[in-house]
Amino acid sequence: MADIATQSTPEPVVRLRNVTKIYDGQHALRDVSLDVHRGEFLTILGPSGCGKTTILRLMAGFEGATSGSVAIDGRDVTGLPPERRNVNTVFQSYALFPHMNVFDNVAFGLRMKRRPAAEIAREVGDTLRLVQLEGFEGRMVGKLSGGQQQRVAIARAIINRPLVLLLDEPLSALDYRLRKQMQLDLKHLQRKLGITFVLVTHDQEEAFSMSDRVVVMNNGHIEQIGTPVSVYEEPCNLYVARFVGEINIIDAEVVEPGEGRARVRAQGLDVFMRAGHAFKAGDKAHILLRPEDLRVETLKDLAEDPELEDAFSRGRSIFGSVEETIYKGATYDVVVRLDAGGVVTATEFFNEDDETVYFRAGDRVAVSWVEGWEVVLPYEK
C-alpha cells in the first residue's frame, strides 16, 4: 500500500522553493531550493554557519522563512507550528527531558497523541529494542552515557513514525569509535524503517559513508547536490572540491575548446582533457586531481623500464622533485614541487615487497594520472 503510494507520487516529501532567511540583517539562507525524495538518506554538508541547521529548523517548523515556501508531503506548511508537522528532530544536544526516565522520554510523542497506555507500552518496548536499549526503561536519562542518550533521542523521534527524520549533527558529541558505529547503526535503521532521513553535518566522511545524496552548502546557498561519488569525483567548483577532500589544483589555460573536452596547456603539457564546462580559447582554468589518483615514478626508474615509461607517457606526466614524504599509516603522501611552479601531493600505497618509503627528498620524478580522471574547471580568483 505504502509502496504503491510512494511510486505513484513522484513529488518530493519535502520541497523548499526559493527560501531566504534573514537573521538580524544577516542572510542565513539565500534563495535555496531543495527537494528531498521519499525514503532517501540526504545529508546537508557544510562548515559551521553555512545555513545547514537553518534548513533543518525551517523543515521542523522552529523558524519561518523570510521569503519562499516550504512544503511537506505536497502541502505548504508555512505558518504551521512544529507540533502539527509530521516530522521529528534529533537534536545535537539530544534535548532529552531531564526529569523523565527513558520510558517517559520515548513515550512522550505517543502520549501527546493520546494513544492508549497498552499500545504506548508495546510501542516503546519495540522501539527500545530497535535501538538496543531494552531494559533501560526505568533509568533517568541523566545517568546514561552519551551514546545511550543519543539512542534515546533517536527512539523518542522514530516512535512517531515521522515522514522525515531530521538529524542535527547527532554524532558530533560522540568519540571516534562510537561515532563510526552509530553511523552504521543509523544507516541500517534508515533502511529498516524506510523513513526519509535528513542529516546535517560538517564531516564529509560521515556524509559520504551514510548518504544517498549529499548537499554541499556554503555561506547560505547550495553549491552542489549529488551522490557522494559524483560530489567527490565531479565537484562543480573549487569550494566543493576542497571541502569534500584533499585536492591538487594546477593552473592551466584553454587552448582549444571542444565538445565535452578541451585542449589545455599547463606545466609543459598540451593535451586534450575532459571538460564539462563551455570554455573559450584563452580562458584560464584549473585542473583538479585527487592525491590518490596521481602516480609518481622516479625518472631513473622510467629510464630503466621502457614499458613503464610507455605506460606513463600515454597518460600525461609533469616533472618535478620530491620535497618530502609524509607517513600516514596505511599510505604515505609524496609532496612534489613541480618544475613549472606549484606543489602537488600524491598518495601512494606501500609496495607489497618493499615496506619502506620509496621516495627520497630531492628525487627527480614524473607525476601522471589516468586520462579522464582529471576535472577541468573555470578559473576562480
Binding site: A60, F62, P81, P82, E83, V87, N88, T89, F91, Q92, S93, A95, L96, F97, P98, H99, F108, G109, M112, K113, R156, A157, N160
Partner: protein
C-alpha cells in the same frame, strides 16, 4: 599554613554565630534578670507556649508567611516565565526593576506602601500586610526561577513541541516539572523573608493584626526577657530547616 586557615575559618564562624549561640544558651538559663548563669531550665519555653497573645501573633505570622510565600511563588514564576519566553520591549526594564526591588531598603518599601495604602484609604491590617509581603517576595522568586530557566537547554522546549506538545502541554509536562525545584526554593525563601520582616510589617499592618516580629520588638522595649530568647531560638530552628529544605530542592535533579 593549614592551621592558620583553620583558625581563620573558625574566627569567621565565631563572629557569625557566637551571638546566636549565646542567645540560645541564655534561653535555657534559669536566672530571670541577671546575665549570670544559674543553671539549666526549660521554664521559658513552657512560659512561651503558655503566652496566648504571643502564640496568637505567632499564628498570624505563620498564616501571612504561608499565604505570601504561595502568592509570590505563583506570581514570581509567571514573571520569570514571561521574561524567559518572550522578547517584549519592557523586558529589560522589568528585569532591572526586580533587582532594584531586591536591593532597595525595607524602610523605603515600607513607607512607600504605607503612602499607597493611605492614598487608597485601605485600612491597615491583614490584607495590606499580605500585599506588602507579596511585594517584598516576588522579586526573589522571579530571580530564582529565572536563573533556573536560563540554565536549561532551550532545545528541550523545542523537542517537546516537535513531539506534538502544544503550548499548555509544554508548560504542564516539561517546563513546570523542570522549574519546580526552583519554585519550591523560592517558596521557602519567601517564607523566611516574611516571617522575620519587621520594618515593612511595622508600616503596613495595624493593631488588629499583630505579627510576631513586631510583638517581640515591643516586648524587648520593656526589657530583655528570657521568653524572647526562647522564642528566637525556636525561630532560628524554623529558619535553619527552611533554608536546608530550599537548598535541597535547588540541588536536586541538577
Amino acid at each position: 599554613m593549614r592551621t592558620l586557615r583553620t583558625v581563620y575559618a573558625g574566627l569567621v564562624y565565631l563572629f557569625l554565630y557566637l551571638p546566636l549561640a549565646v542567645m540560645v544558651a541564655y534561653s535555657f538559663n534559669s536566672s530571670r534578670f541577671s546575665m549570670a548563669w544559674k543553671g539549666v531550665t526549660l521554664d521559658w519555653y513552657v512560659k512561651l507556649f503558655g503566652n496566648s497573645s504571643l502564640m496568637q501573633a505567632a499564628l498570624h505570622s505563620l498564616v501571612i508567611a504561608v499565604l505570601s510565600a504561595t502568592c509570590s511563588s505563583i506570581l514570581g514564576t509567571l514573571v520569570a516565565m514571561a521574561l524567559h519566553r518572550w522578547r517584549f520591549p519592557s523586558r529589560k526594564v522589568i528585569r532591572t526593576s526586580l533587582f532594584v526591588m531586591m536591593m532597595s531598603p525595607d524602610i523605603v518599601i515600607g513607607i512607600s506602601l504605607l503612602v499607597l495604602f493611605m492614598a487608597l484609604s485601605l485600612p491597615l491590617g491583614f490584607w495590606t500586610l499580605l500585599m506588602a509581603h507579596v511585594t517584598l517576595c516576588v522579586p526573589f522568586v522571579a530571580i530564582t526561577v529565572f536563573g533556573r530557566l536560563h540554565g536549561f537547554d532551550p532545545h528541550v522546549v523545542e523537542a517537546a513541541r516537535d513531539l506534538g506538545a502544544g503550548e499548555y502541554e509544554v508548560f504542564r509536562y516539561v517546563v513546570l516539572p523542570m522549574v519546580f525545584p526552583a519554585v519550591l526554593a523560592g517558596w521557602f525563601l519567601s517564607f523566611t523573608l516574611s516571617v522575620d520582616d519587621v520594618i515593612i510589617s511595622f508600616f503596613t499592618t495595624g493593631p488588629t493584626f499583630e505579627v510576631l516580629p513586631l510583638r517581640i520588638y515591643s516586648m524587648v522595649r520593656l526589657g530583655l526577657k528570657p521568653e524572647v530568647n526562647a522564642l528566637c531560638a525556636v525561630m532560628i530552628l524554623i529558619t535553619v530547616v527552611a533554608v536546608m529544605l530550599s537548598q535541597r530542592f535547588l540541588k536536586e535533579k541538577q
